[in-house]
Symmetry: C2
Subunit: 149 residues, 2 copies
Amino acid sequence: MDNEQLKLENQFCFRLYSAARLMMGAYHPYLDPLGITYPQYLVLLVLWEQDKQPVCDIGKRLMLDTNTMTPLLQRMEKAGLITRTRGKEDTRQRIVSLTKQGKALYEQAQDIPENMRKAVMMPESDVEELLQTIPTLDKLIEELKKLNK
Amino acid sequence: MDNEQLKLENQFCFRLYSAARLMMGAYHPYLDPLGITYPQYLVLLVLWEQDKQPVCDIGKRLMLDTNTMTPLLQRMEKAGLITRTRGKEDTRQRIVSLTKQGKALYEQAQDIPENMRKAVMMPESDVEELLQTIPTLDKLIEELKKLNK
DNA sequence: GCGATTTATATCGTTCACGATGCAAAATTA
DNA sequence: TAATTTTGCATCGTGAACGATATAAATCGC
């Protein structure tokens, strides 16, 4: 068992997988009080930017298919954060709208990005390093999106 | 809704989340033929490095708790990849061992890292960029681990 | 206009991920 | 040694993810 590439420590993907998991865990202190999960937070981010979108548009932003979106949105509807109404021009669509409660969460979410940044508490230089990886991650995501077609 | 930090495009964490998901999807062409999932592949990576480990040791390497590990290992046992025997000195432990089939997969996995690298097909310089982010990701993971305690 | 295809959503089944809880064995402390 | 705490594993419930499949509406090609 001497293939260096097959060792856990040498795997970029394992880092990605672990960092993503741990990152979601780190959101708990900020999302639990709002009664939402990380994927639900992402849906809210999209809706806060632009209310009343069909499921597929939200899915495209989050790169999630309807088999993930539908149950997610159903749970959010049940929690009173959104409503799902039939589309007018295209009756296949479900237009997702924020409820008063869903809109109200926006105020409570104001400090989440800043709090997360502080929580990680890396030296300023490391945070800078992290942000510099964004273009690289974006390039990777673009390539991976092609593969996932 | 004008908080720039609350916009999806400005979120590092969303990139992490998306990249990790898409990355797992990209493994499908290589893992499906072996009949394993990405988390199962990770368990095998650990066992290929060192066979016969208790559940907790594997969990520590993968940063996963037993409530995730146990069902995962049970499925792998059912699939004939591993066995789980009681520990000799510490009878609480379950020692996880590779079966002949589990060991045999090692040969079939040889080209996976290289194939994944080729599949992403980023220019060589970008792959280099990606690998350069590893120390940064490791620092982030260390910080996140502290938060997840 | 009409059959074929695509699109938007939903459902089902399986696997993960993880909080909460339980239990027995081991280690620690009194 | 007895009492307490910790450790190792398991189970349950919930929420994602996602492949496969289904259905109806919209669009396309002719």
